[in-house]
């Protein structure tokens, strides 16, 4: 009995001292790779949003086409990130912070892809706006898009720096964008009554505002994923300032 037991102990000791650190560094490398991939994807998405907004602002049909065509690049990057996440989960069975990181990346990946779709939609609106005589947007497109892009940028920055404070600030910024969207809705309602000949453009602008508002929501989701990753707390359904 005793003789049988001794070798088992030896094997366990080997597992403890040699096998584990080796797999650890593999996992570290994998996580580093995932981080680079999600950062590359987020930069692509951010660029796409920026261009989409500019295409609306400048009536730039060419730029809008570029955004719409660029969506496929975002989609394929999303698929790559997802496959890499699944690979990491299957191969290394990560725990604690590593597991949370991969789960957060998976969710962020979805959010980013969705933002890519929304910005393609905005570019689509730019195309339809270009078909009609130009009209000033019924809302402050510049400041709304700036706020939205700042939220998106901060959310992604908080991922890079692992800064949960920054992520929290993104959550609080969301209400300002929501406010602009609500105001736009009222404004469009009035304007349509006043100048029914501009109804098409006004409604198109309203949908641009709605897409921007959705992007801001997705940025908030990303920020929440970052908070989950850093603190391990799920803050999705708690009001801000209660964590």
């Amino acid at each position: 009995m005793i003789k049988n037991k001794a070798p088992t102990n030896v094997i366990q000791a080997n597992f403890g001292s040699e096998f584990k650190p080796m797999s650890r560094s593999h996992l570290d490398r994998e996580i580093e790779k995932l981080k680079q991939m999600i950062l590359a994807l987020s930069a692509l998405v951010e660029e796409s949003v920026h261009r989409a907004v500019r295409s609306v602002r400048d009536n730039d049909v060419e730029l809008a086409r570029m955004v719409i065509d660029g969506d496929s690049e975002i989609d394929s990057a999303e698929v790559d990130v997802e496959e890499e996440c699944l690979k990491a989960l299957a191969l290394y069975q990560p725990v604690t912070i590593d597991l949370r990181f991969i789960v957060a990346v998976l969710k962020m990946n979805n959010d980013l892809e969705r933002i890519g779709d929304l910005s393609a939609n905005i570019a689509g609106r730019a195309l339809s706006l270009a078909k009609h005589p130009p009209l000033e947007p019924p809302f402050d497109l510049e400041s709304m898009s700036e706020k939205t892009q700042k939220m998106l940028r901060d959310a992604l920055q908080s991922l890079v720096t692992m800064d949960s404070n920054l992520a929290n600030s993104v959550r609080t910024a969301d209400s300002a964008v929501d406010e602009i969207h609500r105001a736009t809705y009222k404004r469009v309602q009035e304007e349509v009554k006043r100048t029914p000949q501009h109804a098409t453009q006004l409604i198109t602008y309203l949908s641009v505002a709605r897409h921007l508002e959705r992007i801001a929501d997705q940025a908030t989701n990303i920020a929440e994923d970052v908070i989950y990753m850093i603190d391990g707390a799920i803050v999705r359904h708690t009001p801000e300032g209660q964590i």
Binding site: K35, Q36, A40, E47, D58, E136, E142, Q157, V160
Partner: protein, 609 residues
């Protein structure tokens, strides 16, 4: 495993070696001493026995009673046991035996030999007394014939005991030697240890880059030379470190001074160097990016794409990329892969500079050429058309001719105005370049009043109320004629782009060191995307409309240049549908002008020194 210190290691080793040696010596000495003692005792016993045999009388020996007395006498005298043995082996007397019989002794080897006439000594175990004994036997000769044997015996113990003190002395000397050796070894070991400790300490200090302390007193000369080598090594290391530090300092100075952004990444694409220009261009501020990868540090898809391509191509790469941080920028960027002496890849260098401005100027220039041709061509075409019609002679009606000539006159005026404006622009530019602008201190209010008066008729015609607001005491260093021209241009524009019944205000506000004159209207306003280019020559917000309302397309450009000629600048703020506000900002040198000039002189002289 616990490691013992040097002196203990040395001592332990020497304890083992000397211990074994001295022990072996002592044991050998003891056994040799005993051997020698026994040999000596044997030979003396033999002599004794021969002597006793010669001095013994045969008769006495043969009678047991006498023999007993004799044996006891002799035993006392010779300090041995004395035994008499007859030829047949019977013992007649024994000095130590109790009266009882002794066994027959003829078979004892010494006795056998003695009976054959040879005196012999042996060492053997006595079965009688159950101890080791030395025996010596000699024949007692009667008439050439051995009749009996006298045997002497002494226990070995007695002899050994007599040697005991000598052996003890050997042991004591051995022990003393041992202690001496060990103490010497311990002392030497201690010194060796303290020397090595000091050397090791010095080496550690050297490795840590600390200053080498003065050498301690070494017990061994070898360590002095080691210390000297260390000192030389230290100097070499110091020189290298100084060299490295100076290279580093020079490199930092170079990187900080150049206006191009420089980023250096290592072979695993982590940033190892970045200069201030790169931080400014990429809006990184003080953020710590050393050790981050480019995607982590620079949040721009185009930049990242370029970096990826540069990595994949493995060749120098250059291109233009758009970057949008706090503002839209265009970068001209190039990459260079860095190789070590043995051509292993060690990193990539990215150098980039902002070309936004250059690109913008290129656009402005090409637009200007296109616009100026267009602006000049329109009136010329019109004039040409009407003149050809008139020359063709098909028009007879006096009224038509007058109308045509009127149009030609108007277009000529327009052409004249454009050329006039271009000329005044070039004069302004030249004046700015050569600094020949003549500025005088004058009241501001009359200038504004004059320009408002000039535009009043046009304002009335469109039913626009034109008001101005300026404190009568404001003074400014201006060129009154030019400032009036600028204000007339602005007011004229405001009237043109206002709706019927609108309102145009001219407001002068005085700040601490500056003066702002704003012309505000509540007209149609300008879209934000045009604002950055509106001061360009011939830039038209709405190409069709502007020409309808007249103007040369140079008015605002002239305003900008006049503001600049005054050392100020022009700005615009506008909201579509709400109106626009154009401002001329003039910095006022006031009374400190002369002081400032002196200060500059002083600074220049100090720089020369």
């Amino acid at each position: 495993m616990k490691r013992f210190s040097l002196r203990w290691q040395l001592t332990a080793l020497l304890v083992a070696i000397t211990g074994v040696t001295i022990l072996a010596l002592c044991i050998t000495a003891r056994s040799e001493l005993i051997k020698a003692g026994v040999r000596e005792a044997q030979s003396s016993l033999l002599q004794k026995s021969i002597f006793a045999a010669k001095s013994s009388k045969v008769n006495q020996v043969l009678t047991p009673k006498d023999a007993q007395i004799l044996s006891e006498e002799q035993g006392e005298a010779l300090a041995a046991r004395v035994t008499y043995i007859l030829k047949d082996g019977t013992v007649t007397a024994d000095s130590k035996a109790e009266n009882g019989h002794l066994a027959e002794h003829s078979n004892r080897p010494e006795v056998k030999n003695a009976l054959l006439g040879r005196a012999t000594s042996v060492m053997r175990y006595s079965t009688t007394l159950e101890r080791d004994f030395i025996y010596a036997a000699a024949p007692i000769i009667d008439h050439q014939d051995p009749v009996a044997v006298i045997r002497l015996s002494v226990p070995l113990e007695t002899i050994v005991r007599s040697l005991e003190s000598s052996i003890r002395r050997v042991y004591i000397v051995g022990g003393l030697c041992f202690i001496l050796i060990i103490s010497v070894v311990y002392i030497v070991g201690s010194r060796l240890e303290s020397d090595t400790t000091a050397t090791v300490f010095a080496l550690t200090e050297l490795a840590a880059g600390n200053i080498l302390s003065p050498p301690p007193n070494f017990s061994f000369r070898a360590f002095d030379s080691i210390w000297n080598i260390l000192r030389t090594l230290r100097n070499v290391v110091d020189k290298r470190a100084d060299l490295l530090a100076s290279i580093e300092r020079d490199l930092d100075a170079i990187l900080m001074t150049i206006t191009d952004g420089v980023i250096l990444v290592d072979s695993s694409d982590k940033i190892i160097r970045i200069n201030g220009a790169a931080r400014n261009l990429l809006d990184l501020d003080k953020k710590n990016v050393i050790g981050l990868s480019i995607p982590e540090a620079v949040f721009s898809a185009e930049f990242q794409r370029f970096v990826r391509n540069a990595g994949a191509r493995g060749k120098p790469l250059s291109g233009t990329i758009a970057f949008h941080g706090s503002s839209e920028k265009l970068f001209q960027i190039s990459s260079h892969r860095l190789k070590d002496f043995d051509s292993t890849f060690v990193g990539t260098l990215f150098v980039f500079s902002e070309v936004t401005h250059i690109r913008r100027l290129e656009n402005v220039r090409s637009d200007f050429v296109a616009n100026v041709s267009h602006e000049l061509k329109t009136p010329v075409t019109s004039i040409k058309g009407f003149v050809e019609t008139l020359l063709g002679g098909g028009v007879d009606d006096e009224k038509d001719i007058t109308r045509f000539l009127g149009i030609i006159s108007a277009q000529t005026d327009r052409l004249h105005a454009i050329i006039e404006d271009l000329l005044s622009l070039s004069r302004l530019e030249e004046g700015q370049r050569k600094r020949t602008m003549h500025l005088v201190r004058s009241r501001l209010r009359p200038i504004i009043e004059a320009s408002v008066r000039e535009c009043a008729a046009r304002a009335d015609a469109r039913n626009i109320s034109l008001v101005f607001e300026c404190s009568p005491t404001v003074d400014a260093y201006v060129n009154p004629g030019l400032l009036e021209q600028a204000l007339v241009n602005l007011i004229d524009n405001a009237i043109k782009y206002s709706l019927e019944g609108g309102r145009v205000e001219v407001i002068a506000t005085e700040g601490q060191r500056d003066l702002t004159i704003t012309v505000q209207d509540n007209g149609i306003g300008i879209e934000k995307k045009h604002l950055s280019r509106i001061f360009e020559r011939f830039y038209r917000v709405d190409k069709g409309r502007s020409r309808d309302v007249g103007g040369t397309g140079l008015g605002l450009s002239i305003v900008k240049h006049i503001a600049q000629a005054h050392g100020g600048f022009a700005t615009v703020e506008s909201h579509p549908g709400k109106g626009s506000a154009f401002s001329i900002h003039l910095t006022q040198p006031a009374a400190e002008e002369s002081l400032q000039a002196n200060g500059q002189d002083f600074m220049e002289t100090s720089r020369r020194m």
